[in-house]
Symmetry: D2
Subunit: 290 residues, 4 copies
């Protein structure tokens, strides 16, 4: 089996290596010629030889559509495209229908694991048809962690990215919970060795988790996190989780709180508080910080 | 009737004037001799003449206890102390018991209205016994707005401050709601004249309210609130409302959100977001703002 | 001037009367022949005579698109369609572009005021071009409350519904704040006459508002609201406000809390709490309610 | 070394066994004679022999104070009392001062691990002086999990329970995050095998955690959790975490959301939504569910 892999950045590059380590040929394509195995998408497809050909996209969301356009011309009946990026699940059904006009199959795969995935394996959440999943299974086997877990065929097209979106939503909430607890420990005078408290929880406690392990790692170099600004971006999936909840009337207050805390962290001068301050000034003559 | 009034700051000073305008004698006492009508608490009490004497405290919370200590010696059977400050309701029962040893009555009064109260009247929420309320009624009549509203005998000792605390909790939530809406209008490109939108809501809309009127006033001078920092203090009653909700298992998510938004506005470098950022860096190699 | 008014339900019917009271001819159309002034949309348009003709839609969201389709054939150059329903602002630009092919103008109008509007006037938030607004101005004058307020030309197409959406978002947050305060007063033993406390706030207090007045009215008939179930629907605009905030990275925690409280009120057996309960059972042997 | 252990319920009973398995003598006392090793507290203390004697309390919060009263008479100079229950950290300094009059030392220990602790070990968070910790260290070694983690001397008296409180607050937020994600997966049509998705996350994913493992276990018997009601109690520490945050002006929105979701789950007819519904009825004639 040969796999075409489009996008060889931090994630894609590591995945190429892990798949090759499992004995599968990978022809990578990246706009950056230095890391690419091919000169163009067309060249990459040509190198894949006889079908069924499988092309895995590991691209930023904004490049997916145009790449699908090109691949629709390059691939054909029985071939399969896998979108392994952080695409919005709601686009998957459209993408699948678009490719299916040309007889091309489509799988959407949520990939978790970050920079640790090359070594430990990537958790994979897959959406699509049984036959398409069966075809790509050797690649999934190469990527996933050893053991019983780390792979799920979650449902039809869209289910993979939906499951990944929810996974990331949960991740937002867990990170926020750890962070609130840490802030509280730091603010109070009671606990004198906060990193030691976090480290102690790594065995025997209810909050034992990989995210906790990462907190402990981060505090090893920088016990009070003095070198890191209190500023967090968000990557889309937190927003989509909240939107999906709103759409389905499912309350997600903790995940939403986590998202809003990131929004707030990026506001130097929170606009809403300007109006609150203005009202306080109007009714109470409260001192306003100008 | 003569009233002793302790604390002649922004609130107390205006209240003295409004009570005098209603024809009631007021002997004020303040540490600031320039605005005081008496040299000391003892002098003030002496000027009140024969009982039943009524002494109204309009003091910052931290000065209430010591003033009650002094008044317990100066007053006696049948006299009444009124705590009109923003005291925590939970102290009222103790204060009442403490004074009742000396036969002194006690009323707790929540006073709303801010700097507009002198002209428009103050909303009063009163806790205490029927006879004590009846004794002080002329003062309440002087302070409250004209008409049917603006005064309530809410229950026994503690009920006045409890009602005022809840009033302020609601106020937090309403202010936050207006502020969130304003921030959204300002952030989107759709609405080109935000102050005009707020002004239009002053008649015929569901959000018609005094707080909305204050928003409109504030935007008259400073349409985008450029002169005001996004920074809001909190004065205690928001915190007590959340605590009372937690204690009684009553969820108060909107009021709590309002309180937390004020907390966040005072954090230049939100600690929790440091740890979120640190975790993101650990698992994803996400760029961290240092 | 003659106005075509489509949709004569609770809102539309009252508005027809208020516009007529101001001396403007209204030809109404409704699927319900008993209240309709015309047999069909075509008949209604025919009765409007020479242009410029103005047709105001007061329809449930799901009927707007098909009605625009029909009106595009019936109207022409210089005519104007007004969407006064609770439509999503994001559709307005499309609707305007669609009609503009036929030379038909488009205004989006957010209308607030509920069943009280016929008597007190409706707050109007309008989006669209200056000339179109000028043409429809007599109708706006008829509908709005007397005085300086209750009308705003908020911006271009979409601004009216956007402003109305934000208005309703604020309304959600205000209602939730009042409701949380009420629940807390009812849950605690301190305050013995909760309706009297709410009534007292109607003058001189910071929370003075039309929504507070409505609370007082509701408690007059039913002091403990025993006759009303704790169950609240949501009508779309709360959800859109949260979505717009998420899209623009504007945190709206109080408004979101209000929306989620309504979602939760409709869950008899909250699913998330099943899993929380299951986890508690797994780690702690906590008693689980089965 | 001999340890006195008061309270032999689910937690205490398992701990007695684990400590004995490590070769330490334990004299247990419980009101339930069938499981007790002694007839009374006095008998238990007598069986401990010569000092320094260590007595570990594993009691519901409400029984701690009276037990300390009794132990103050039974113990003396150089002995140590350990409060291993879920006591509020704020009481620890008082308890320590109370016992120190009699020369008795005091340690507060937060114990995590639930019913799995006997086998896997208990995470221990300890507050108190270095010499007292050193004395009790053999017992801590017996209880903690094997390896580097699971024990921390977090600070002076109070630090153990404070750390445990924060641990549980984080636990609330993590559980809520998992539960929100699960509810969303169940509500949407995309994912057809929700238990498989959760199971897949157990390796290679960012949300890998012990709580996730418990979710998977719970779904093994009951894939849709049909047998469990959506109803969750709270045990105090979530409330204290929110209170501590409010007191220190540390926003804890995700943990608070988790607590409030539990509160809401216990309200059959949410009071706040009665007033929201009543207001909607007043202004809009919205249908009210009666």
């Amino acid at each position: 089996m040969k796999l075409g892999l489009v996008g060889l950045g931090k994630m894609g590059g590591n995945m190429r290596q892990r798949i090759r380590d499992a004995g599968i040929d990978v022809v990578g394509y990246d706009r950056n010629a230095e890391i690419s195995d091919s000169d163009s998408l067309a060249d990459m497809v040509a190198q894949l030889g006889e079908g069924p050909r499988v092309v895995w996209l590991m691209l930023p969301v904004q490049f997916v559509k145009q790449t699908l356009d090109e691949l629709k011309d390059l691939l054909g009946e029985g071939d399969i495209v896998v979108d392994g990026g952080n695409s919005k699940w709601i686009n998957d059904k459209n993408n699948a229908a678009y490719l299916s006009d040309a007889g091309i199959g489509y799988l959407d795969v949520g990939v978790s694991g970050g920079v640790w995935g090359r070594q430990n394996g990537y958790a994979l959440m897959v959406g699509g048809s049984d036959p398409d999943v069966a075809t790509v299974m050797p690649v999934f086997e190469a990527l996933k962690p050893e053991g019983d877990y780390g792979f799920v065929h979650a449902g039809g097209v869209g289910a993979g990215h939906f499951a990944k979106m929810v996974h990331n939503g949960i991740e937002y909430g867990m990170m926020q919970s750890l962070a609130e607890g840490w802030e509280l420990l730091m603010a109070a005078d009671e606990v004198t060795d906060v990193p030691a408290v976090f480290a102690s929880w790594q065995e025997g406690s209810v909050v034992k988790s990989w995210l906790l392990d990462l907190c402990v790692l981060a505090m090893k170099d920088d016990p009070k996190l003095d070198k890191i600004r209190g500023f967090a971006e968000d990557s889309g999936e937190g927003r989509w989780t909240v939107e999906a909840g709103v759409d389905l009337a499912v309350p997600t207050p903790a995940i939403t709180a986590a998202l809003y805390a990131r929004f707030s962290s990026r506001q130097e001068d929170p606009p809403a508080m300007k109006l609150v301050s203005a009202m306080r000034n109007q009714f109470g003559g409260h001192a306003v910080v100008e």
